[in-house]
């Protein structure tokens, strides 16, 4: 099982690759809507990719109000 730091790094890697943003431009406390320039449909796409990547099920109501990578990583870590 990855530790929380590793989970966070994998999320940042995946987000950078998927939305074609240089990895070095992403930091844990970034608002991913703003940094990635994504809308709600793309956020669902990201959620689905993260679920597949970590093999977890993440109810989307747990993400209500979550907009930074660090908190997102915490939610995922809690399901690993």
């Amino acid at each position: 099982m990855p530790d929380s730091k590793q989970t966070l790094e994998e999320i940042l890697d995946l987000a950078a690759a998927q939305f074609k943003v240089p990895r070095e431009k992403l930091t844990p406390d970034d608002d991913f809507f703003k940094t990635l320039g994504i809308d709600s449909l793309q956020a669902l796409d990201l959620l689905t990719r993260l679920e597949h990547h970590f093999n977890v099920e993440l109810p989307d109501y747990e993400l209500q109000g979550v907009s930074d990578f660090r908190t997102l990583a915490g939610r995922i870590q809690a399901r690993l």
Binding site: F33, D39, S40, L41, A43, L44, D45, L47, T48, R49, E51, H52, E57, P59, D60, Y61, L63, Q64, S67
Partner: protein, 267 residues
């Protein structure tokens, strides 16, 4: 009519397979114009049934299969309208869409919904009328209606109940959470999950397999195993229309339509 090209959808009969394509931006929302074209398809279906063995429904849009009812059109349409008058209009819409859904549900063709991306609300209900659902790995499903103060209105609950266990139905309906294709396959909603870009190939491959079977036998098997829950469908319309007059609906629609929230699709 073997082929048709409309604003919201198109269809074509080819090699015994009818392909119904949804292509209304942004995500195949079903409003009055899409409904009219769906009705056109339902009318053409009887004739197509004599020439085909399978029907594939799919979207040409990357955003998804269908995001459900056109809530913005609904919200604008009922603005300033007396509640009972609005509810009558909604009932008429629902009666019409149910006729379309029932026509596809009860068609002797073997029907395949090939779904990608957002498959929410009425979009999920459209998929549920099909005999098989094949999902792109990135498909996402949801019944978000409760946050609008409503229940699904295009036949979703009776059909979900027909296909799945009641506990699963309660989870999906009462939490309004979205779930991915893997989960959908685990609960028995989806028959195949395929990699991104492989959806149509898989659906067409399945349709080709279906062509090997005697049509009369396939239709008899379908009729035996897939009864249409007419009584519950009618009750669903009644409950929906009752709820539609409640203040929570106007508030829910207003919140969705006017939301600046970055996550309006997240229940």
């Amino acid at each position: 009519m073997n082929q048709f090209k409309g604003q919201a959808l198109s269809w074509e009969l080819k090699n015994g397979v009818v392909e119904l394509l949804l292509h209304r931006e942004p995500c195949n929302e079903i409003g009055l114009s899409a409904l009219a074209e769906l009705e056109k398809f339902a009318s053409a279906l009887k004739d197509l049934e004599n020439k085909a063995h399978a029907l594939i429904l799919h979207s040409t849009l990357k955003s998804g299969f269908c995001a459900g009812a056109d809530l913005r059109e609904l919200y604008r349409g009922v603005q300033g309208m007396e509640k009972q008058t609005a509810a009558r209009g909604v009932r008429e819409f629902l009666e019409r869409i149910h006729k379309v859904m029932n026509a596809i549900d009860g068609s002797p063709l073997t029907t395949v919904a090939a779904v990608n991306g957002v498959t929410f609300g009425g979009g999920l209900e459209l998929a549920l009328v099909c005999d098989l659902i094949i999902a792109d790995k990135m498909a996402r499903f949801c019944f978000p209606e409760l946050r609008l103060g409503l229940i699904p209105g295009f036949g979703g609950i009776p059909r979900l109940k027909r296909d799945l266990g009641n506990a699963v139905v309660r989870d999906l309906l009462l939490t309004g959470r979205s779930f991915n294709a893997t989960k959908a396959q685990q609960i028995g909603l989806v028959s195949q999950v395929v990699a991104e870009g492989e959806l149509l190939r898989a659906a067409r491959g399945t349709a080709a397999q279906l062509a090997k079977f005697d049509r009369r036998t396939a239709a008899a098997a379908k009729q035996f195993i897939k009864p249409i829950p007419y009584e519950e469908l009618q009750r669903e319309i009644d409950i929906f229309c009752d709820l539609f007059t409640q203040p929570a609906v106007e508030a829910g629609l207003k919140k969705f339509v006017e939301s600046k929230d970055a996550q309006p699709y997240l229940p």
